[in-house]
Amino acid sequence: MNKTITGALAVALGFVVMVPAAIANPEQTANGAQSPAAVMAAQTCGGCHGTMGQVKDNAFMPLAGMPTSQFVLAMKSFANGSRPSTLMGPLAASFSDAEIQAMAEYFAAIPKFQHEANK
């Protein structure tokens, strides 16, 4: 057994150990590692931006996998009005810096939704 194969096996095994097989979909695995406060703050976005930010309609920005700095910059510039918006301005202004940071870290850790065509 060469090193690469060992590595691949270890990764595969690691996956088995980390993720209960009873879980049918990968969405369930992604929340476990997150802090409860981050999950709490991020759930508020789901109604428009999709479960865990993996929205399929592209009128709303998918948040899953967005780099933290980009998320924070977007929310702050919506909040102070420097980035024009319809709804995001008032909404972003309602969240605290800590909540915005927690959301940013949550979404950065979620895999991007893979469009059917991109799989």
């Binding site: 929340n31 406060a37 508020t44 976005c45 999709g50 399929k56 319809t86 709804l87 202004a93």
Partner: protein, 453 residues
């Protein structure tokens, strides 16, 4: 049902060790498997079931629901004017069952034994729970409107406020309105489901009559209230689109320079809003004569749509989960009933401080409760909640949208909205209204995905 592998078993034993007190309860299932039972598969119940499984895959979730398919009430007024059809608002529970492993029992709940933690159904099934989530939606209270207290009256003048075939009845009634006819819409008093909804519906009907070619048709809103959510943007839109004149008594809600931007239309507009202060409260309905008697006088109509006062869904009332107000008091951090422990009430039926009764509120509450129940089952402290609501609405014209958006936090035990602007600004650009309409329709899809897929 999920099969348990070794890893899962290990995880359970750890979780169980941390949550020993909860093992005392009886369960029909494996002793170490926590079981959450949900009554009602609407926005709140379905979101809860999906997210409970997402946040805590080791927990078993069973939804008891009467209907095999869901008809979404959000956006359903567009059925009446033919923008969408019943298929568009009908949603399957397949993904919740197959993808998320939620157990569904299609049956009617007949009772709950709170001591035994046991739900009974019409078909004689008994289901035990570790915690119960009740998401029963709304019921209708016609007792305050004379002339509407019979079954026959309620079939002739329908509300169409809970999706279902009543929407098709309203569609037929609208089509039967003679050219240049009159439609009366009666919104309910606070609190009620979907705050901008009755006004959006009135706007949609107005636009439908205009599209048909009616020059002198009228839509009259007889309101028991002096304002409503999105009123400042909605009334501005109607002034622009439908010759609507601002009621004198409402002017105080705008700055003088804003009032000055309203056009004063010489003839009465195609849509009129009779607010409570100007006699909008309805006291009596004559179904046969098609007249509505309000404090301001008697209105003759070709079509009448009355959304009566609302209460919590019937099952919540039957189970003794509501107080004298007709709604269910809860601890606003966990949404656990203050009347029955281990029972959580979410969505329209619960009293959630300043949160409106809306689909988005129910969705956000459901996720919060899933997180709190996960913590409670693990013997961990509950989490400081943050919730959100967004309601989109159309002014009538399908490219003129608006919204209300709020964030809610717990303060002195009550959910309070963050003190920020919540509507489009008064001087919003045309692009902002057009974009809001685009977002409204995109939201119908993304919101449905978040709940059901």
């Amino acid at each position: 049902m999920s099969t348990m592998n070794r890893r899962n078993f290990l995880k359970f034993t750890t979780a169980a060790a941390a949550a020993t007190p909860f093992l005392a309860g009886k369960s029909a299932f494996a002793a170490d498997e926590k079981h959450i039972v949900v009554i009602g598969g609407g926005v709140g119940g379905a979101t809860f079931a999906k997210y409970m499984r997402l946040y805590a895959p080791e927990v078993k979730v069973t939804v008891i629901e009467r209907k095999k398919e869901y008809q979404r009430p959000y956006g359903s007024s567009e059925i009446i004017v033919g923008n969408v059809d019943m298929n568009d608002i009908t949603i399957s529970y397949d993904a919740l069952q197959k993808k998320h492993g939620v157990n569904f029992v299609f049956d009617t709940v007949t009772g709950v034994d709170f001591d035994k933690r046991e739900v009974s159904t019409e078909n004689g099934t008994k289901i035990t729970y570790d915690r119960l989530v009740v998401a029963p939606g709304i019921s209708f209270d016609y007792s305050g409107i004379a002339g509407m207290d019979t079954e026959a009256a309620q079939q002739a003048i329908v509300h169409g406020w809970d999706a279902g075939d009543q929407l098709l009845t309203l569609q037929k009634q609208l089509e039967a309105v003679p050219v240049d006819g009159t439609v009366v819409v009666v919104p309910p008093p606070n609190p009620y489901r979907c705050p901008p909804g009755p006004y959006e519906r009135a706007g949609l009907i107005t636009q439908w009559l205009i599209n048909r070619g009616d020059k002198n048709a009228k839509v009259i809103i007889l309101d028991p209230k002096n304002g409503f959510t999105t009123d400042v943007t909605m009334l501005q839109a109607w002034n622009r689109l439908y010759g609507f004149n601002l009621p004198k008594a409402f002017e105080k809600n705008y700055k003088p320079e804003q009032v000055a931007t309203f056009t004063k239309h010489e003839t009465p507009g195609k849509i009129q809003w009779v607010m409570a202060e100007e006699g909008g409260r309805v006291v009596k309905v004559d179904v046969a004569a098609k007249t509505v008697e309000a404090e301001a006088g008697v209105f003759k109509a070709d079509m009448i749509n009355i959304i009566p006062p609302l209460k919590a869904g019937k099952i919540a009332l039957d189970l003794g989960l509501a107080d004298k107000s007709g709604w269910c008091p809860v601890d606003q951090k966990t949404f656990e009933s203050t009347l029955h422990p281990l029972v959580h009430v979410i969505g329209d039926a619960c009293i959630a401080g300043e949160m409106p009764k809306s689909g988005y509120s129910a969705n956000s509450q459901a996720k919060v409760v899933a997180l709190q129940i996960k913590a409670l089952l693990a013997g961990q402290p509950t989490i400081e909640p943050v919730l959100q609501n967004t309601c989109y609405a159309l002014a009538g014209q399908s490219d003129y949208g608006m919204f209300v958006a709020d964030v809610f936090r717990l303060k002195d035990g009550k959910l309070k909205r963050a003190d920020q602007p919540r509507y489009l600004p008064f001087n919003a650009s045309t692009a902002q209204y057009r974009l809001s309409a685009v977002y409204l329709h995109a939201w119908m899809d993304s919101f449905t995905q978040d709940i059901f897929s």
